[in-house]
């Protein structure tokens, strides 16, 4: 398993902390999901550092690695400032970098993303950039100092799964050694399985669990889905064929 800036997670599922019906359900969902990393959005959940204390202590008690995120930032400056705040609060160099370019699809502004990634990498941050499947953008992010990529499956919160299988496959095979996390757009456990079967290194999701009718059960479903996909990939699956190929040998069959 590839590591993320030196961190080897115990599971390849990363889970967001927003939108759960209650903190108790969030905590139970995390336990069932076996997730190794929790993303926390600094902008929506904080208010300010001191007043959000109760919620932070709940997140800290999850005992998982915290990945603060610049969700909802629309400019380089906002994202960089939010990253600085996150470093102060969470005492971590990790930052999930989101620079949103379009309000309806919440798709990344890849130009701003590369710029912000460069600034933050130079400042010593370990940047997890939320990007598209675009190869050229990926290359520029790597050159700007990122050592992990987070390509989208489909737009944030859409639950559409992996929208561009071809593009994601190309990205995976183009940068085989770069740790990659599929982030955003996952709606079903099978979407996560598919991502892992394609050789991605982890999956990050939030809404699919938090907004399920039974978040705790869905969290458990995802924990299995991730393992299934990862094992499927590791075990070197058979190639698909155009013709049927009998699994029972014909030779030696008795003539009756």
């Amino acid at each position: 398993m590839k590591d993320f800036y030196g961190f080897k997670p115990k599971s390849q599922l990363m889970l967001g902390t927003a939108q759960y019906p209650s903190p108790s359900i969030l905590v139970s969902s995390f336990k069932k999901s076996n997730a190794s990393v929790a993303t926390v959005s600094l902008r929506r959940e904080s208010g300010n550092i001191n007043s959000g204390n109760s919620f932070w202590s709940i997140i800290k008690d999850l005992n998982v690695k915290i990945l603060p995120n610049t969700a909802g930032c629309h400019t380089v400056k906002e994202a960089v400032t939010t990253a600085h705040m996150a470093r102060e609060i969470f005492k971590t160099k990790w930052i999930k970098l989101e620079v949103i370019g379009e309000e309806d699809t919440l798709q990344p502004d890849v130009f701003g993303l590369v710029e912000a990634a460069k600034i933050l990498s130079e400042e010593g941050f370990e940047v997890f950039p939320y990007t598209t499947e675009d190869l050229v953008v990926a290359d520029k992010l790597l050159k700007s100092g990122c050592k992990v990529l987070m390509p989208w499956g489909s737009p944030i919160g859409s639950g559409q799964g992996l929208n561009n299988i071809f593009g994601l496959k190309a990205l995976r095979s183009h940068f085989p050694d770069i740790p990659m996390i599929i982030d955003a757009g996952i709606g079903l456990p099978s979407h996560a399985t598919r991502a892992m079967e394609m050789g991605f290194d982890a999956v990050l999701l939030n809404t699919a669990v938090a907004k399920a009718g039974n978040p705790i059960m869905m969290a458990e479903a995802f924990s299995h889905a991730i393992v299934a996909g990862a094992l499927g990939y590791e075990s070197d699956p058979m190639e698909p064929r155009d013709m049927a190929n009998p699994s029972t040998p014909i030779i030696g069959k008795a003539f009756l």
Partner: protein, 333 residues
């Protein structure tokens, strides 16, 4: 006769006072301010008695207990409006409407024509909606005032002072009912605030008669008519104890959503901006807790007017009949 001291006179304190005094018990209500007023978060409430709608995102017990609120308020105050509530979504968010319907009950599906008949100002703007006919709403401030007036007329005494839970308690054998909301954080360690922001606007060109909920992936908005062209727009839900300022983003999102419901809201006058933090336990479900001579009623979250009547009933059953409340939990202090 033993005196019962109720500390805090938000919606929880007043409902408990009403229930106990109706049972003939002698109660004294202590609040550090002249309530009802803006220091209590029930002042800023939506006032929707919408147990079935709340079922979309909450536990079944909230729906069950919330149903008690409509007859309770109707019996005890004037001004409960029983016109149901209407849930709508923009056409691109129709999947959210389907999900809402799947997770709730006691509604009928309505189309554009039926929506237009219920609320003419929504005509030709929404193709689908859910109509929860049995729900109701009230005006929180009028309701709190009228409940207090009723209690005063029945001889309940209101005392303005800050009750100190360390010094005032030591030499006190009275039964204390702690209804201070987030103010109880000193002794209820697992309480937290969930920040809510809301607006009161004046828009006489629009004539909604019932609460309208707009489903939206980022900002679920509700508009509650207060009569005479006044509407309450709410409310955000942010994990924070901050109760001071609205953020620019929240203000923009609330107004944007109102504008999406009907652009005429663009002409509305903003009368008030309200911010407060809702007292909440980790499961967002209220709880009654008892230790020695203290009973705590807290964690009403976003369900003050919806659940206070059921909680008041349970407190009364606990005191009079020693019956264990349906939502009692261990005292954490």
């Amino acid at each position: 006769m033993q005196e019962i001291k109720i500390i805090g006179s938000g919606v929880a304190g007043l409902c408990v006072a009403k229930e106990l005094s109706d049972k003939g018990l002698k109660v004294l209500v202590i609040d550090k301010t002249d309530s009802p007023g803006p220091q209590s978060c029930s002042w800023w409430a939506g006032g929707m008695l919408a147990p079935w709608c709340e079922g979309e995102s909450t536990e079944k017990i909230v729906v069950k207990l919330g149903k008690e609120s409509i007859p309770w308020w109707s019996k005890n105050v004037d001004g409960v409006i029983k016109k149901g509530s209407l849930v709508i979504a923009l056409s691109r968010d129709e999947p959210d409407l389907n999900r809402f319907g799947r997770r709730t009950e006691e509604f009928i599906n309505v189309d554009n024509d039926e929506i237009g008949k219920l609320e003419p100002d929504l005509k030709d703007r929404f193709n689908k909606g859910l109509y929860f006919e049995s729900e109701a709403h009230l005006s929180p401030r009028e309701t709190l005032k009228s409940l207090k007036k009723d209690l005063l007329s029945k001889g309940v005494i209101f005392e303005k002072k800050e009750f100190n839970f360390s010094s005032d308690l030591n030499n006190n054998q009275d039964l204390i009912i702690d209804c201070r909301g987030l103010g109880s954080k000193d002794i209820q360690k697992d309480l937290r605030g969930v920040k809510g922001e809301m607006l009161i606007i004046y828009c006489p060109e629009i004539n909604f008669t019932r609460p309208i909920r707009l489903l939206h992936p980022r900002i679920p908005l509700y508009i509650v008519p207060r009569g005479k062209g006044i509407y309450m727009l709410g409310a955000t839900m942010i994990e924070s104890d901050d109760s001071k300022n609205i953020t620019a983003r929240s203000l923009m999102e609330l107004l944007n959503a109102a504008y999406a419901i009907n652009p005429i809201f663009g002409e509305a006058k903003i009368l008030e901006i309200g911010v407060d933090a809702r007292p909440s336990y980790p499961d967002n479900i209220p709880s009654i807790r008892k230790k020695d001579n203290i009973i705590s009623v807290n964690g009403l979250f976003r369900h003050g007017f919806l659940l206070a009547p059921a909680l008041a009933r349970m407190v009364s059953e606990l005191i009079i009949d020693n019956k264990t409340p349906e939502i009692m939990s261990e005292y954490i202090g």
